[in-house]
């Protein structure tokens, strides 16, 4: 039972089944289960497989699903989707130098992204240097997004359509951890390339941070030469919970080009809180994240593009059976529920003083079966209520989704 709890909070134990390769050649790299792992460790805290004496470890995960959703009586019918296939390669270059890369194929091969590719050098537990393509530590989901860690087919709306998960950029920074009895304190601080003006100029017609990812050049060059700073502080009590506060701040517009000033510098700031815990006795695991976004949108632009946005989600997962199911010794069954809310436009119309709506709430009850810690079969019902800017009657989307996500 305990193992299950760990798993739902993102701590996964390696047990691997092997195909054609001679099993004796393969070493499992165990993940940390001491409870000292924080959300920031998620990139390395994954099941890896090493081959013989090679210093390289391999891993990955895949997510596939079926869904049948309808919006106000209109449905796209049965959809089978291969949402993503991700490969990680990790290697220990020297004793305290390691490298990890994560490459993701999304929606078939429609999108191929390097989510992470960074070298970490440990100078001291309190002082590690990371450089390369890093995942900005904003909120919790961005760094801890592996499909098999979650009990729902969809990623949270607030993580992908408010915050831009998976949000990675080229840059460097420092991180470190401090242990004190039952407490772990951690920090992360990075400077990376940042946002671009698509966040207020996109086909969504709303302030939309994920639109920044549409700029293909962003791994090559910074849009405006001003770095995006991302900082996070987290604290974990080993028996109770982890809490994180993160902040990301940058400039999104091209205020200057070829030495000529075009506009003033316009800021984008994001504040996020995240937390996760396991309720003692009940073993219920709770995982939540909330973010506020502030964008300096020109007064003379359209209010379709908001200056303020906020939203978040909470996942509540209750393990309810543990034991042998269909021969899987360590099976667990969970019931789970996700609640979500996103307001893409917090503000009032200049014309009427009335509230600008543009929000969504959702509820997603589900059940999941984990035949082993690294694999999850999940079935959920989803209900989204989405209201346009003007506050007209909602577009209601609902239906079932069923899928599998597994590390391999």
């Amino acid at each position: 039972m305990k193992k299950l709890l760990l798993l739902t909070t993102g701590l996964i134990i390696t047990t691997t089944s092997i195909g054609q390769i001679d099993a004796t050649l393969l070493r499992k790299r165990h993940v940390d289960t001491t409870g000292t792992m924080l959300n920031m460790d998620a990139v390395y805290n994954r099941p890896f497989l090493s081959l013989g004496k090679l210093p390289v470890a391999l891993g990955g995960y895949a997510e596939a699903n079926w869904q049948h959703l309808g919006t106000d009586g209109i449905t796209e019918g049965h959809q089978f989707q291969m949402r993503r296939l991700t490969l990680f390669v990790a290697s220990s270059i020297a004793k305290r130098i390691k490298f990890l890369s994560e490459i993701e194929f999304e929606d078939g091969t429609k999108e191929i992204n390097i989510e992470f590719a960074a070298v970490d050098v440990e100078l001291h537990p309190l002082l590690n240097v990371r450089s390369g393509i890093i995942m900005n530590p904003i909120g919790a989901f961005n760094q801890n997004h592996d499909g098999p860690k979650w009990e729902f087919v969809d990623r949270p709306v607030s993580a992908t359509q408010l915050l831009p998960a998976t949000w990675s950029n080229v840059g460097f920074g420092l991180y470190g951890k401090l242990f004190k009895k039952n407490w772990v304190f951690a920090y992360e601080a990075y400077l990376t390339n940042g946002f671009n003006d698509r966040i207020i100029d996109n086909r969504e017609g709303k302030t939309f941070l994920p639109a920044a990812k549409k700029n293909r050049d962003r791994f090559e060059e910074s849009f405006n030469g001003v770095p995006l700073a991302t900082v996070k502080a987290a604290v974990r009590h080993l028996k109770i919970a982890e809490l994180g506060v993160s902040y990301m701040s940058g400039i999104y517009n091209k205020f200057e080009d070829d030495g000529l000033q075009l506009d003033k510098k316009r800021a984008v700031n994001v504040l996020a809180l995240d937390g996760n815990m396991v309720v003692p006795e009940l073993h219920t695991s709770i995982n939540a994240e909330w973010a506020w976004i502030f964008v300096d949108v020109p007064e003379t632009y359209t209010q379709q593009y908001a200056k303020t946005q906020y939203g978040g989600f909470i996942d509540i997962i209750q393990p309810c059976h543990r034991g042998k199911i269909f021969g899987f010794e360590n099976s667990t069954i969970n019931i789970a529920c996700r609640l979500e809310y996103v307001d893409w436009n917090v503000g009032k119309f200049r014309e009427t003083g009335g509230n600008i709506a543009d929000h969504l709430w959702g509820i997603m009850p589900g059940i999941s079966w984990r035949p082993s810690a690294q694999t999850v079969l999940r079935l959920n019902y989803k209900y989204y209520n989405k209201i346009d800017m003007l506050g007209n009657p909602p577009a209601r989307t609902a239906g079932f989704q069923c899928g599998i996500a597994t590390y391999f």
Partner: protein
């Protein structure tokens, strides 16, 4: 093990009852969007293309938005094809009589009050008069488009020959060079009857659409090739094909379906509507002539408009006009779909040309000019009768 199989079967059978647990489609009479009945498969495909261009094409800097604009997509102003909200209101300025717009050099006729970053939007020149326009519903436009000029003129009574105080005149407009005349168009010294827009200044839906791309979003086409910012002819930012798909979509949007038509209150209200002469302008029944779209040919429909201009009195005179209309004249707006206005206006009414009336009653009470007599008749109704009339209007 057996227990698990059972559970598994139950669990898996739930999604198979999927449709039941998905939100039902609203009834046809609860929404304004959707095609007219009787389209061919080919026409429905074209309707869909127009629907996507109208609702999903959100323009960005990259696809040509602005630099000066009012909004970023047709659908953002015409939500659900219904009436708009003050946020989506257009302002036009600079024309006081049929001599034309005096402020074309200063950005007239339409104010582009928004601009992409690092550009400054337009402002209304101090000397110019202006009027605000709240978007009308876009439903049933194909029917209105297919009414013959002769039928429209037959309703006009410029000299009030019948002595009811209501005249009604057509707006005679000059045609844009890209417009092809519809069958049976009547020529009045080189001008033709306009029938779309609050002043009735647009001859047809192509003019309205190409104009909207250009003036509302800063998107030029081969039809309207001049950029509103530079005044220069620039490369088209929307294809002719897309414009034509949108025109087809507008033409084939269904007419609003009335609700509670047999309700006694509604029926009584309908009687009063005719009795106190509302129907002299808000004409209850029109018919189409031949249309290239079979579903629109020779149809009788109930738009509650005569497509003519009427003197609405001083209170509604903003000192701005278009075509040959006087500043105090407005085209009778169709009342169909009135009861569904709130579902696209964010929950409350914004009626009359600029949305100033916050209820149906307020809209009626603001009628003046030719409608003053009718308005007074309304005022003289008993409380119950007024309620019935409004119940009827809400059923439309």
């Amino acid at each position: 093990m057996k227990r698990f199989l059972h559970v598994l079967l139950i669990v898996l059978s739930v999604p198979l009852s999927c449709k039941k647990l998905e939100p039902a489609a609203p009834e046809d009479h609860e929404t304004l969007d959707g095609p007219v009945e009787g389209l061919s498969d080919e026409q429905r495909a074209m309707f869909l293309k127009g629907d996507i261009a109208f609702n999903n094409d959100v323009f960005t800097k990259e696809t040509g938005l602005g630099p000066l604009f009012v909004s970023t997509s047709c659908g953002s102003c015409h939500a659900g094809d219904g009436k708009g909200h003050p946020f989506t209101t257009l302002t036009r300025f600079g024309q006081i009589n049929e001599q034309g717009n005096l402020f074309l050099h200063a950005g007239g006729p339409q104010l582009q009050n928004r601009a992409i970053p690092s550009h400054q939007p337009e402002t209304i020149p101090a000397a110019a008069t202006f009027s605000k326009f709240t978007p009308p519903a876009n439903t049933g436009l194909g029917f209105l488009d297919a009414v013959s000029d002769a039928d429209i003129l037959a309703m006009a009574d410029p000299n009030d020959a019948d002595g009811d105080g209501i005249s009604g005149v057509a707006n005679w407009v000059s045609l844009k060079n890209y417009i092809t005349l519809r069958e049976g168009s009547i020529d009045n010294t080189g001008k033709y009857i306009g029938r779309f827009g609050k002043k009735g200044a647009a001859y047809n839906l192509l003019q309205q659409t190409a104009g909207a791309y250009n003036q509302d979003m800063g998107i030029v086409s081969t039809y309207e090739p001049y950029d509103t910012f530079s005044g220069e002819e620039i490369d088209p930012e929307v294809s002719n094909q897309t414009v034509q798909h949108v025109v087809f979509y507008l033409k084939t949007l269904k007419a609003p379906v009335p609700r509670n038509i047999n309700d006694p209150g509604v029926l009584a209200g309908k009687g009063l509507f005719t009795q106190i002469n509302c129907s002299k302008c808000h004409v209850t029944e029109l018919k189409t002539s031949r249309s290239s779209i079979a579903a629109l040919s020779y149809q009788t429909f109930a738009p509650y408009t005569d497509l003519l201009l009427h003197d609405m009195g001083n209170a509604l005179d903003d000192g701005y006009t278009e075509g040959s209309a006087k500043t105090y004249e407005w085209r009778t707006p169709p009342l169909w779909g009135l009861g569904l206005a709130k579902i696209s206006q964010g929950g409350s009414y914004y009626l009359l040309h600029d949305g100033r009336a916050r209820s149906i009653e307020e809209a009626i009470l603001l009628h003046g000019g030719e409608a003053a007599y009718t308005r007074d008749k309304y005022k003289a109704l008993s409380k119950e009768e007024k309620q019935k009339l409004i119940t009827f209007l809400e059923s439309l």
